[in-house]
């Protein structure tokens, strides 16, 4: 009987997997807002990757800037008449639209790299503590608890005060404040998986613990981690913008969206709203788009979690 079952099951397995994926896609497409978020996300990604080719001006090539064009309102013609500043120019005569495209690049790079780093570190710590338990687990989870009891913004602020300015340093600080979320989620998922039969079977075959952890347990922990990763990406981008706004984030030579807003802040009081406003809109759209996707993913992937 069991042999017949196995024979029946093995050809059916790939089909089941495919329909799972299809089911997931159908569930995802059911929310129009989430689809809108996904489209926006992809659009911003494309804009950021191809920024040098799309932007009408290289905002960091000082030679191409004409100081006569500074603080022009949206829609103005450049003094040579060669181009239109659709979103106006800032105090250094940079085209705001081009600056946003380049700023988007910095923001997305910081977000993606820091979240990937946090994912790897956090998932490793979480899986190891769930698999081995005992002292390893107690120690790692104590660190996670301590870290999560401080607000992320404060830890990042102090870390950056120690490390100094720079894109790489912001990435380190953001990864350092975010790995704990991944560690906690990975441990939670892995503890459930740890005692399931397939893991016991793998143990009986005396596979190495690395293999069991990464090839057997880890793939089953991916869904909750994906939810955390999406929400954390939005969180990381917003956090980086806040840090840059407070003056401890990225350097002036590589402005992110937050830095552009911070630069425009001083002009806002005198009525030149567009210098801070349009980067602000871009930032809000990115963050909200990612969160819409993340929110819906959470609804699909952890139906227990209602909040």
């Amino acid at each position: 009987m069991s042999a017949a079952d196995l024979a029946l099951e093995s050809p059916a397995a790939p089909a089941a997997r495919e329909s799972m994926l299809r089911l997931f896609a159908a569930q995802f497409l059911a929310s129009k807002l989430a689809v809108l978020g996904l489209i926006l996300m992809i659009l911003f990604l494309v804009l950021a990757i191809f920024a040098p080719w799309i932007a009408p001006q290289n905002p960091f090539n000082v030679g191409s800037l004409n100081i006569m064009d500074s603080k022009l309102p949206p829609g103005s013609l450049s003094s040579g008449g060669a181009m239109t500043y659709w979103l106006g120019t800032d105090g250094q005569a940079r085209d705001v639209f081009s600056a946003i495209l380049y700023g988007l690049r910095t923001s997305l790079i910081v977000g993606l790299v820091s979240v990937s780093a946090a994912f790897v570190i956090g998932a490793t710590a979480g899986l190891i503590s769930a698999y081995f338990g005992g002292r390893t687990e107690a120690l790692l989870m104590r660190i996670v608890d301590i870290q999560l009891s401080f607000p992320a913004i404060l830890v990042a602020l102090v870390l950056l005060a120690v490390l100094g300015k720079g894109v790489d340093k912001v990435i380190i600080a953001l990864a350092a404040v975010q790995w704990a979320y991944f560690a906690r989620a990975a441990r939670g998922a892995a503890i459930v998986e740890r005692n399931k039969e397939y893991v016991q079977a793998a143990r009986c075959m005396s596979l190495s613990w690395q293999r069991i952890l990464w090839r057997h347990i880890f793939p089953n922990c991916i869904p909750p981690l994906m939810v955390i990763a999406t929400i954390d990406l939005a969180h990381a981008i917003a956090l980086e913008a806040t840090l840059s706004f407070l003056g401890v984030g990225v350097p002036v030579t590589q402005p992110s969206l937050g830095m552009l807003i911070s630069n425009g802040y001083e002009f806002m009081m005198s009525g030149s709203y567009w210098i801070a406003f349009f980067p602000g809109i871009a930032l809000a759209l990115v963050v909200v788009a990612i969160n819409l996707v993340g929110d819906h993913l959470r609804d699909i992937l952890n139906p227990r979690n209602e909040i």
Binding site: A161, A238, F245, A284, V288
Partner: protein
């Protein structure tokens, strides 16, 4: 904990370079270093700090102004307390009714708009919301001031701005900024709690007894969903109070959050250490208070304890 903060801050640059004028000679620098006790090894500094902090509650003087760090913080505390209290009250006033509504009719268009709006609330960065509010209400409409606390009334050593119209006006934008974010969270918690409680028997029974919907929701339901709401509101109040760094910076609100970031940037260690110690004590006290409120709200907790 205090050792951790102390050591971390010790690594952060040299405060003397912030204090001495750029032309100061090496001898003058050494004198400053000596007068602040910075020439001693780290462990001696830490022991001196512990001795003073534990026995005399003296966290040292600010490097910058020379005033006791604790006094600097306590002076600024009312401003932050005022901001945090007003913001949390507003968030609860708006969040709880909206959350109940969204929980009662989850598939309704209005309820779904509320939930989408709450995504905006927790995803938009705080400083961004503050900036937009300043832009609309201060720069374009000139209705409200963009920063500061307005005129203050003194009540002994405490100064508050909440009792005058101008004070209200300066309070409005920062309060709205914080409340916007906290509201989103409260809506989500209230909605989840409402959906959990609605199918329970006692609600059905209350309806079967023919009680008015207002009484079922306002008394029977509200009593039960208060428990998660109090938890979240308590924790969030602590967060707002202790770490209103960003909002206070945007609105140049002279509270302790602004003091903290200024002190981190100027490397004024005694103030940062005193601030963090005070925050830890405050957050623990708040947790205790939330636990006590539990026992008042929930007879089940009392019975088991």
């Amino acid at each position: 904990m205090s050792a951790l903060v102390f050591a971390a801050l010790y690594l952060v640059g040299d405060p003397v370079s912030m204090l001495a004028s750029p032309e100061a000679t090496e001898a003058e620098r050494a004198l400053i270093r000596q007068s602040l006790g910075l020439d001693l090894p780290l462990w001696r500094q830490y022991l001196i700090f512990l001795n003073k902090a534990l026995i005399h509650l003296d966290f040292g003087n600010s490097f910058l102004t020379g005033e006791p760090a604790m006094r600097l913080i306590l002076q600024r505390m009312p401003a932050t307390l005022e901001l945090a209290t007003a913001a949390m009250s507003l968030a609860l006033l708006i969040g709880v009714p909206l959350g109940i509504y969204a929980g009662l009719k989850p598939d309704n268009f209005g309820a779904r708009s509320v939930m989408t709006g709450s995504v905006l609330g927790f995803s938009l960065p705080n400083f961004w919301v503050g900036l937009m509010l300043i832009m609309v209400f201060a720069v374009f409409l000139h209705w409200l001031p963009a920063g500061g606390r307005g005129p203050l009334q003194s009540f002994g050593p405490i100064q508050l701005s909440i009792f005058s119209w101008d004070g209200w006006r300066s309070l409005m934008l920062p309060v709205a900024t914080i409340a916007f974010a906290k509201c989103a969270l409260i809506i989500r918690v209230t909605r989840a709690a409402t959906r959990e409680c609605l199918p329970l028997d006692y609600i059905k029974f209350a309806r079967a007894r023919g009680l008015s919907e207002a009484r079922v929701l306002g008394v029977h339901l509200l009593k039960n969903i208060m428990i998660p709401i109090v938890t979240i509101a308590g924790l969030e109040f602590g967060q707002v109070f202790a770490f209103a760094v960003v909002t206070e910076s945007v609105f140049s609100w002279p509270g302790i959050g602004k003091l903290l970031i200024d002190s981190i940037i100027t490397l004024d260690r005694p103030v940062v250490v005193a601030y963090l110690m005070l925050t830890v004590v405050f957050l623990s006290a708040l947790n205790l208070a939330v636990d006590i409120i539990y026992t008042i709200l929930d007879p089940r907790v009392r019975a088991s304890a």
